[in-house]
Amino acid sequence: MAHGPAKGLSRWFYTTNHKDIGSMYLWFSFAMFFLGGIFALVIRAELFQPGLQIVEPGFFNQMTTMHGLVMVFGAVMPAFVGLANWMIPMMVGAPDMALPRMNNWSFWILPFAFAMLASTLFMEGGAPNFGWTFYAPLSTTYAPASVTFFIFAVHIMGASSIMGSINIIATILNMRAPGMTLMKMPLFVWTWLITAYLLIAVMPVLAGVVTMMLMDIHFGTSFFDAAGGGDPVLFQHVFWFFGHPEVYIMILPAFGVVSAIIPTFARKPLFGYSSMVYATASIAFLSFIVWAHHMFTVGMPLLGEVAFMYATMLIAVPTGVKVFNWVTTMWRGSMTFETPMLFSIAFVVLFTIGGFSGLMLAMAPADFQYHDTYFVVAHFHYVLVPGAIFSITAAVYYWLPKWTGHMYDETMGKVQFWTAFIGLNITFFPMHFSGLAGMPRRIPDYNPLWADWNMISSVGAFMFGAAQLLLLYNVVKTIRGGKKATAEVWEGSHGLEWTVASPAPYHTFTTPPEVK
């Protein structure tokens, strides 16, 4: 297994190497992040002031929908799969992923799926315009023809996710180096193991619900049509049975990343390792029984309303355990604040704020006022942007020296952090206010009452976007050169990935290391 990467393009098309595939996932997700970000900027530009200036309402809806879909399925999920590909084999002491050829298939499905999804923008009738939650019957009877391609895109990216998850589970359960017991695995590995279970459990349900749509649209079934005895609310139940675990799919690996970075820069072992594992598992379990908190206003029976409210509130407990453990890890450490640490600290603070607003949303009676307003938009951007996106950024800075063999430019890293951090809060904090003041989401035009907040948000969005250009610049610069990185890279780093050279050899552990 001494061979290195193949030459030319075939390296990328035909590869079975987890690092190559990981890199492709990461670059793909970065591209999708920019695409989704451009859609977001169109939204923010239109909302800069009341009145319609830039786009028509129909196109605005397409932007909202495509923004949500591309960010969730194109940016965040593939980024975490990319990190999993790069790091899990290195962290558990394996030579590669368990099923390397299938690994490449999982990746290559994605560019095709998203090319197909993006191409709907140019079709007659336009792209999907029914929100990333695609509620029927707006997404069935009243949808543009491109919905058929949207459905098939979801099908094949679901297949990709399922194969990816199977691969990750097999790698973790089966490829660990001798001595690497489950309770010795880094938390990133643990969180991904649990995430993979979530994915396998819910992606088929998503496939199921889009299949029902396909049948309603093209084959005259009546799943979501009351005239035939069906029910539009059925759609929402099935969708959110997928959708809620999905949001944890986007945050659990982030927990893993942060649990790796904070101990490194606090130079102190992670506090409460086993409680972290149990908390992750509890969150995953609870995520299956809270879905209807997205549907408090659909007219569920009182009993359902109450049960889903309680279950949702419960999630704050294990999540709190995690937050407290991170803080205690920092307590009496010996802290330094390199870029990955800054992003991680911002993660803890801002994610918690997002969690708090989540808890407010969980109060069913109050949700009658919050639901479908910008308060919800503020909530989920606080958990997704400084949550998922910041943790991914932190991970990139943290492991970039290991991937490339070069140190990134610390000053530039900090500049990027502060632009992102400030831009983000300017963008999303005001949304709490406009939301509470009654601004509905998914509208292209609004009453002047909310004009000030929107203007501020829009300015922040462009600032946050600029920060992402800096990230691109930093990454490219580091790949092309820079100070040589040591194997250990960080003073306080622990774990198998830091025992191999930087950059890590093409095949990391051809003979398994011994873990004590």
Binding site: P137, P232, L359, G438
Partner: protein, 377 residues
């Protein structure tokens, strides 16, 4: 760098702990949730504030500890890392305390919820139906019903460069009148896609599900005017279907009811007259702009793939029966207008469509044709 990071984080801390609540407390409906005008809405508001302050408190503790440690336990200050890494006692403490707080929150939340769900024994029943993109209100047992659209004044402002008026996009052509000091029950449904009927001051938000009726209720004590909007993405003009509810004393309410009934009789009378082509065309043009242009566009070109063109349309240039049928009964994605438009308006808009945009069919449709068509069904 370190000092900058500390200062800025502290700033954010200040922002969330001091600025947010003070803004929230100082503000009226601009910054914070409205307290509203009903018992339920006030309960919801207090629930909102309670949970909010809990979060602020917990945040203060958690972030306080964290920022202290970031300040005191820095390597640059010579902090040596301790090596402790677990404590079952602590884990139990910080599992139990949040749990207890949540239980404390669950009580008021549940009791308000039970109230929201108590729709029994209403004095007035109103059937609310969401359409793309307007609301229909039907006073059950009263023989009064009407549609409420975005007002023309708001519509005209959309594309202008001027500053928008105060109630921009929150103004309708017909308000929903309810009596004060009466329990009013809303039966909410939709005709096409899902909408959501939301009036913040009443703390009523109910999804309008096509084919199903959901119930909600309110009890307003004092007269007043309350504005809201559709709160569920329902297609292109989701942002343009406002709601205005006006609560008035019983006497005024009764008078208004009588007026509405008289107006309905007048409409029936008007349907008997015969109009000239020019009258029909002019009236039809304005009806078209108000009701049809949202989809079929001002120039009748439609939106390819979504809404068919009227210009050169086979139906608008074909059999009048089919044209009547499409306008009165709707079709796939086309709302039925039979109830919303008066016979005069229907006749006018059909006449208009058959002659505008170069369709030049040269014929006109009279109100009586519409009445006959409806009866013939």
């Amino acid at each position: 760098m370190l000092s900058i990071s500390k200062r800025s984080l502290a700033l954010l801390f200040a922002f969330s702990i001091v600025v947010l609540p003070s803004l929230a407390a100082a503000g009226e409906w601009q910054l914070n949730m409205t307290e509203g005008v009903t018992e339920v809405s006030r309960e919801v508001y207090s629930l909102h504030m309670t949970i909010f302050w809990w979060c602020v408190g917990i945040g203060a503790v958690v972030f306080g500890v964290m920022f202290y440690s970031m300040f005191a336990h820095r390597k640059s200050r010579g902090a040596e890392a301790a090596q402790f890494h677990h404590s079952t006692k602590l884990e139990i403490v910080w599992t139990v305390i949040p749990f207890a707080i949540l239980i404390a929150m669950a009580f008021p939340a549940t009791s308000t919820l039970i109230k929201i769900y108590d729709t029994a024994d209403a004095d007035v029943d109103i059937l609310i139906t969401g359409y793309q993109w307007k609301w229909k209100y039907e006073y059950l047992g009263e023989d009064v019903s009407f549609f409420a659209n975005l007002s023309d004044s708001s519509r005209e402002e959309i594309y202008t460069k001027d500053a928008k008026s105060e109630n921009y996009l929150l103004e309708v052509d017909q308000v929903l009148l309810i009596p004060t000091k009466k329990k009013v029950r809303f039966l909410v449904t939709a005709n096409d896609v899902i909408h959501s009927w939301w009036v913040p001051d009443l703390a009523v938000k109910r999804d309008a599900i096509p084919g199903y009726i959901n119930e909600a209720w309110t009890y307003v004590e004092e007269p007043g005017l309350f504005r809201g909007q559709c709160a569920e993405l329902c297609g292109k003009d989701h942002g343009f279907m406002p709601i205005v509810v006006k609560a008035v004393e019983q006497g005024e309410y009764d008078a208004w009811m009588a007026e509405k009934r008289a107006a309905a009789a007048a409409v029936a009378e008007a349907a008997k007259q015969t109009l000239t082509f020019d009258q029909l065309y002019a009236e039809g043009e304005s009806v078209y702009e108000t009701y049809c242009a949202a989809c079929h566009q001002a120039g009748g070109e439609g939106i390819p793939g979504m809404f068919p063109a009227i210009k050169d349309s086979t139906i608008a240039t074909g059999d009048i029966k089919l044209h009547l049928d499409r306008v009165i009964n709707g079709g796939q994605g086309m709302p039925p207008f039979g109830e919303q438009l008066t016979p005069v308006q229907s006749a006018a808009v059909i006449t208009f469509q058959r002659n505008a945009f170069g369709n030049n069919m040269g014929e006109s449709v009279q109100p009586i044709d519409v009445v006959n068509f409806k009866q013939g069904q």
